[in-house]
């Protein structure tokens, strides 16, 4: 923001800028409604912000316009920065793209410039002084908004990455000797590695005999990850635990066969339920419904 302040008192402007500035702000403020409407109209015309309704565009453009004028007047972009961040937070989840955001700010600059052109009535010296005053501030605002938007985006991405890493892979003890490893989401090699290590530690800590690896939530798989899965199953066997892989989707089954991963040693069943039943059989558990057993006892 110090740079923006400097803009208003740039030595090269020779005092001319300072005179023009109030005039400029007054002009922009006076024609607020007309210019804002023109701007909103041009946004719709350019097919931008299509995810937002007419009223929303009206509200947002009013706020942006006021902020814009405020920055022109005070040279202080802090409020604009905060507003840009806030706006990004609201519109990013709705799928507004970077080019749209930069586009609308540039459109506003365009609208204001045109109005300044009219205002100067082709007096070149006045126009030049107005441009000297307006342009750096406008550029500064564009950069602020774009940077705010991109920062917000990056912050969301980072946040999501952290979340994915954290919720990565719980190893769940279900019964004595039975672990379930539900895998959700895309597996990359790094995650696959982490997953295997967690599973092996879990097997030792819980003294598991059977592990059910459920990959219902995995949308796709490549050969590296598939081979890693095979390795995981082998490693589990070395620790004395049999692995059952459940929930292979038709797509994954096709991929695995097409890329020729050898799954002959893997015990695969269709879904998690089947997997747990299979595990119970291996471990010697039998699950019965309470009512049935009571009925049977009564019957005796």
């Amino acid at each position: 923001m110090s740079a923006a302040r400097k803009v208003t008192r740039r030595p090269g402007a020779e005092g001319g800028t300072a005179d023009v500035f109030p005039e400029l702000v007054a002009h922009v403020r006076k024609n607020r409604t007309r210019l804002r409407e023109e701007w909103a109209h041009r946004i719709t015309e350019a097919d931008m912000l299509t995810v937002m309704t007419e009223e929303e565009i009206a509200t947002e453009t009013t706020s942006i316009y006021d902020n814009y004028v405020n920055v022109l007047e005070t040279g202080d972009v802090e409020a604009m920065e905060a507003y840009a961040r806030n706006l990004s937070e609201r519109i990013i989840p709705r799928g507004v793209e970077t080019d749209e955001v930069i586009g609308i700010v540039l459109l506003l600059r365009d609208v204001l410039l045109r109005s300044l052109l009219e205002q100067s009535q082709c007096r070149l010296d006045l126009l030049s002084r107005m441009l000297d005053a307006f342009e750096p501030a406008a550029r500064r605002i564009t950069v602020t908004v774009a940077a705010g938007f991109v920062h917000e985006r990056e912050r969301i991405i980072r946040q999501q990455q952290d979340a994915i890493r954290e919720l990565s892979t719980p190893v769940l003890p279900v019964r004595e000797g039975l672990l379930i490893l539900p895998i959700v989401g895309v597996i990359d090699p790094q995650r696959a590695r982490q997953l295997t290590q967690q599973l092996l530690r879990g097997i030792r800590a819980n003294r598991a005999k059977v592990v059910v690896i459920d990959i219902t939530g995995v949308p796709s798989i490549n050969s590296t990850v598939a081979n890693h899965l095979v390795l995981t199953v082998e490693a589990a066997r070395l620790l004395g635990a049999a692995a059952i892989v459940t929930g292979l989707s038709p797509e994954i089954a096709q991929t695995l066969v097409t890329i020729g991963v050898d799954l002959s040693k893997m015990n695969t069943v269709c879904d998690l339920r089947e997997g747990i039943e299979e595990a119970d059989r291996t471990l010697g558990f039998r699950v019965t419904r309470m009512d049935d057993s009571i009925d049977q006892e009564k019957g005796r």
Binding site: Q197, L200, R201, R207, L231, E234, A235, A236, L238
Partner: protein, 126 residues
């Protein structure tokens, strides 16, 4: 370093205490195949808890031990492979195929009991 071989009822327990040189592995193999006959043991448990690396030679020797012991009429189980060791083994393609492995000595003894009980059922007079 020599591996102590303990006789525990009908089983032999070979408890590896430190990293083994190739010659020690061969000595272990010879001693086990010898003693399984001497003591008329039903099973052999090889405990590798203390080994922090199992290379290709070690894996091959363990597979050999298992095959030889089977020919001598007993079962073999490898116990106590560490998670990290297991993972690096499979990454190197060493899978100890055809050899039973369980978590630790306790599980190994249970495994042996199950296996030998099954064998006993098939014997005459029992």
């Amino acid at each position: 370093m020599q591996v102590p071989i303990l006789k525990q009822g009908p089983y032999l327990i070979a408890s590896v205490q430190a990293a083994l040189r190739d010659a020690d592995l061969i000595a272990l193999r010879n001693a086990l195949t010898e003693q399984v006959g001497t003591y008329r043991s039903r099973g052999v448990i090889v405990d590798v808890t203390a080994m922090d690396v199992l290379d290709s030679f070690a894996c091959r020797t363990l597979s050999e031990i298992a095959s030889m012991i089977r020919l001598r009429g007993a079962q073999t189980v490898i116990v106590g492979i560490q998670p990290e060791v297991a993972f690096s083994m499979v990454q190197l393609g060493l899978k100890l195929e055809g050899v039973a492995t369980v978590l630790d000595l306790e599980e190994g003894l249970k495994y042996m009991e199950r296996r030998t009980k099954r064998m006993d059922h098939g014997r005459y007079g029992k």
